[in-house]
Symmetry: C2
Subunit: 323 residues, 2 copies
């Protein structure tokens, strides 16, 4: 399942409105050989083929008697773009299917699993469900909240400034952190900035990493004014992100007012904090007012999920606790 989850990441930011799923097909040990992987698949750009279809195609006849590991319940619905994955798995003679997470899509929602079981396949559900939830956070946010999963990215000094008081912000973080931030861009369907940042920095928001140039996400501008720059989509309130077509992963890159507007609306699901080992002091704060009434109210909202060194900088990732 770990391998299937890793494959699922390949589709992140490119499969909306379909979930980014990963699948690994393993032929169990026989007299002739040990366990071996005979097929690997992940949801392809645009959402098709599905991960299972790709992995089965690779496996060919070797799928007979195999175990398939899938990060999401195989679909149960035919589509003009291909047959249901639960049908494909049954027809290929797969003996066991291990599923990380049930599919909340009303067109599947348990019927994929039923269909597999009806075909005599052993099905286990819930293996690494938490990791699968994170891996398909965009699809799940769309299902639960009718809007994309939102990551807020901030690059700050140790004392939490995103620029000097006069606006100078080049460079706070080093090359490794900036490269990582570009990689994160490639994992999102769209990037959003506020009009202030657009006017000040004219950001390109593209992915400047060799081999990933074509992974640059769509550019969204938050602004009360309708003036729409070439190549940008304007929305006039954070709450409008649900209207963006085929955007399941959205990254908000600033500035302070925009970040605060998303936080105030409780639309941020994940924080990416890149922190450089410098002190700016009396600089530009990362966030405008979010309307916090008491320190106590700020607790219990964020859970650390990653912390890593990037050159001389550090990346800390947090996710919004919702329960």
């Amino acid at each position: 399942m770990g391998a299937a989850l890793a494959l699922a990441e390949r589709g992140r930011g490119r499969t909306a409105p379909n979930p980014n799923v990963g699948c690994v097909i393993v032929k169990p040990a026989s007299a002739q050989a040990g366990d071996r992987v005979v097929g690997r698949g992940w949801t392809q750009p645009g959402g098709r083929p599905h991960a299972e279809a790709m992995a089965l195609e690779q496996a060919g006849d070797a799928a007979r008697g195999s175990t398939a590991y899938v990060t999401l319940e195989p679909c149960a619905h035919m589509s003009p773009r291909g047959p249901a994955c639960s049908t494909l798995l049954a027809e290929a003679g797969v003996e066991r299917v291990v599923v990380a997470l049930g599919d909340p899509d009303p067109r599947t929602d348990g019927s994929g699993i039923e269909r597999l079981r009806a075909a005599g396949i052993t099905v286990d559900v819930g293996i690494r469900a938490e990791d699968a939830r994170r891996s398909m956070a965009g699809f799940l946010a769309r299902q639960s909240f009718g809007r994309p999963h939102v990551t807020l990215k901030l690059a700050t000094s140790l004392d939490g400034c995103i620029a000097r008081a006069d606006g100078e912000s080049r460079w706070i973080t080093g090359e490794a952190a900036r490269a990582h931030a570009h990689l994160e861009r490639a994992r999102h369907d769209a990037i959003l900035v506020g009009r202030g940042t657009f006017d000040a920095d004219g950001p390109r928001l593209d992915v400047r990493l060799a081999g990933l140039e074509n992974r640059s996400p769509r550019r969204i501008l938050l602004s009360g004014s309708a003036r729409e720059p070439d190549g940008w989509t304007v929305i006039d309130a954070p709450g409008r992100i649900g209207d963006l077509d085929a955007v399941d992963y959205l990254m908000v890159e600033g500035g302070a007012q925009t970040a605060a507007a998303f936080l105030r609306a409780d639309l941020v699901d994940r924080l990416l904090l890149y922190r450089a080992p410098i002190l700016i002091a009396a600089g530009m704060p990362a966030l405008g007012d979010i309307g916090l009434d008491r320190i106590a109210d700020a607790h219990g909202r964020w859970r650390g999920i990653d912390s890593r060194v990037l050159g001389s900088d550090r990346l800390d990732a947090y996710e919004r606790i919702r329960d």
Copy 2:
């Protein structure tokens, strides 16, 4: 040497103006037994007995033929409070002495090692010198700069605030982080705050940890006014810290102006950043103006030396790069 360095920590904040040294005496393997530790010592409160004297006392006759690991070059000077440690080691019949760091004190500065060698003892120098330098940072700052080693402690939200805009700051960090900060207090000879923090919070600055209550450090107030509260020592500029008697480790606990004053004077050697997983936004910044002209000038000054989880908070420690 790792064990000797750990013992050295026991004296930190209590041995000024003497260095906090650690010593372990090991009897090499014989036909009867493997290597075994026969003596452990660390500089005692007030600076005497020295680590070596304590360890030799424990070892007794077992010191004959042993190896002594010491974090600092044994002293070469007699004192009314006891004989030189190099003499004691030779008289006890120690065969080999492993030293982490030479003693820059002009009264020793190599002559301790010479004396040991003259007595026929094998001496190795430089083992874990970097760790020893950190472990005796207070003594070394006094030798090199004529002032204590200064730690600046900040407890902030993820966005770098130390309070809400109206001053509310209870509580940002959780219990584990606060307990750790109290432990750090116990490792300092004195704690300093600015008059603003004194007036706002009336801080006690004591060590509220069971068993360590008597380790509460001296309390220093930074203020242009001579008004000296009971139990406090007032200094009227950061540059005056060199005048404080028997203070080799000083912790600055805020507020923003005071922290900035120490940073502006380049008197901060170590940063302790306790960070809670909360967002305050538009709150009170951790630092007042430090006079930074360009972002580029802020780089290359701080090196991460520790990062750890404390409950739901994180502690990041940095040291000033001076070379």
